[in-house]
Amino acid sequence: MAQAVSGSSPAPRRFSLSPQARINIAGYLFITPWIIKFLTLNAGAMIASFGISLFKTDFFTTFDFIGFDNYTRLFRDPLFWKSLSVTAYYAFGMVPLALVFSLVIALLLNQNVKFQGVYRVVYYLPSIVSGVAVAILWKYLLQPRWGLINQGLALLGIEGPKWLFSTTWAMPAFILMGVWAAGGNMLLYLAGLQGIPTDLYHAASIDGANAWHRFWRITLPMLTPTIYFNLIISIIGAWQIFTQSYIITAGGPDNSTLTMVLLLYRKGFQQFHFGYASAIAWVLFTIVMLFTVLVVRSSEAWVFYAGEVRG
């Protein structure tokens, strides 16, 4: 057999590759940067992180294998449970609010309004400048006595709460900030709305569907892929909240804004309990994964892909 093969190619043997092998090499060369990133910063670091979570270590003096002790200690730590409930509160408050709010704004802006570009900038700008600048700004906007928010509420006859100085109102204040900066989602919805074929609306209105029906039967179903995408990205982002609580309240008052990542930062990078901090990271990862899987699983029931055969 080998004889026959070599017999059929009279050319002198030299190094040559089949077309598919050339394609494979080219493909892998193009994606090399990502492969390096995956092997080191994703997969490698993930395994290392799990490994570290099984040690009691500051990486300089001690390095003791303690199995799952970090996890059992974690589950007995009231501070951890506090941070979990604080972060969950934020995620469950912020994700639906930001989702609905940005969807409503996108729907309104899509109604062929004049100066659409100006409105788009106004609603979108806060999401671009998010970070330290926004955190510093809001710290003073929320000042109970002379801050803009409470003076605004006073004009409406409402006596504003003490916001960042109140254990009840500190987290809602963070959610308010989050909604203010939710314009990034709006842009994706606007893009999604542009993609809905106009014929659908024409056909529906000929059949006598009113605006309300058109929204529920056409716009919303056609937007579900965008809602789905935004939902996943928002959930992942919300559980990672850090900058606001680090800069504005430092976790206070009375730990009412101590988020999981802030606790992780303190344990790891201020107290050098790297094993314990890695355990927190893994719990966080598991939670985010759980919610993502839930959304992905449920998507079969509510996400609608136009013209796509589902297999």
């Binding site: 600048a133 999604g192 790891g268």
Partner: protein
């Protein structure tokens, strides 16, 4: 400028429809304008406060236009703190990272979108899965890695990992490349053009919208990035503006003090101006780019 579809023909069928239409649009404009007004208040308050003298800051009701504009708020802080250095550091990090990541992202996305190599589907699925990994999980081993290399307190940990592409960006770009017809590719292949040639001469010239979107996203991510420099940089001479601003804020006294809020708000405002400029420059590609890539989950 892309406009939403209106349905004029539906509403023009009779007087009742026209009246309904008119009231509808009136309510629409009221809602959008009130919303926009409320939304722009925080930034307007920041501008106003940045020009106030201390005694005007805690006035009730708010004085929106100070009788005397205190421009010194914008000048004095530069002498108290090395803001120029902070900005140089930020610009260096942000511009370098954004430029390099755009190149690597587009190469990786091209590989996934155009080259039918073995295992492509599975590997792409793995790439999507990595988007779910919170960076906090890998933060500690990554920190220990850089600390072993004695590169903590340098720009390396803030820059090098950024250069190796980002899953979200690759996903967005691949979606875009998939919408470009492959006819040109095939013709170019027959003429003996290399894969890199196709990337360079066919795909890249057509991908301005998606590059615009990713340029602004990466620029603002790097400009705003706080936790990474916070972890790695101790020397204030290496601080980007995010850390510098934080340092400036802590020196203001924090808490309920407002006496030096003018300079603080002035410096905060200055720190976001480059983001706004970048947004306005890239914005015409923006919606367009997202529409074309058509994120479909």
């Amino acid at each position: 400028m892309i406009r939403g579809q209106s349905l004029p023909d539906i509403h023009r069928r009779g007087g009742r429809y026209r009246l309904e239409h008119f009231t509808g649009r009136f309510v629409l404009y009221v809602v959008i304008s009130v919303g926009a007004f409320v939304f722009s208040m925080p930034l307007l308050w920041m501008i106003s406060t940045s020009l106030k003298t201390p005694e005007l800051i805690n006035r009730i009701p708010i004085i929106w236009i100070p009788p005397e504009l205190r421009w010194a708020n914008y000048i004095d802080p530069w002498r108290e703190m090395p803001f120029l250095l902070f900005y140089w550091n930020t610009v260096f990090i942000t511009v370098t990272n954004t430029a390099i990541i755009l190149i690597t992202n587009s190469l990786v996305a091209f590989g996934f979108a155009r080259i039918p190599f073995k295992g492509r589907t599975i590997i792409f699925f793995v790439l999507l899965a990595t988007m779910m990994l919170p960076p906090q999980v890998t933060m500690i081993p990554t920190y220990l890695f850089w600390s072993r290399l004695r590169l903590v307190n340098t720009f390396w940990p803030i820059m090098a990992p950024e250069w190796l592409s980002a899953a979200y960006d690759v996903f967005l770009m691949r979606q875009f490349y998939m919408t470009i017809s492959t006819d040109l590719d095939e013709a170019a292949r027959i003429d003996g053009c290399s894969w890199f040639g196709i990337y360079r001469h066919i795909i890249l010239p057509l991908s301005k919208p998606v590059i615009g979107v990713l340029a602004i996203l990466n620029f603002s991510f790097n400009w705003n990035n706080f936790i990474t420099p916070l972890i790695y940089l101790n020397d204030s001479r290496l601080f980007p503006i995010a850390l510098g601003l934080r340092l400036f804020e802590t020196q203001m006294g924090g808490g309920d003090t407002y006496v030096r809020l003018g300079p603080l708000m002035a410096m905060t405002l200055v720190s976001i101006i480059p983001l706004m400029v970048a947004f306005f420059v890239a914005q015409r590609y923006f919606i367009q780019g997202i529409v074309i890539t058509g994120i479909k989950g």
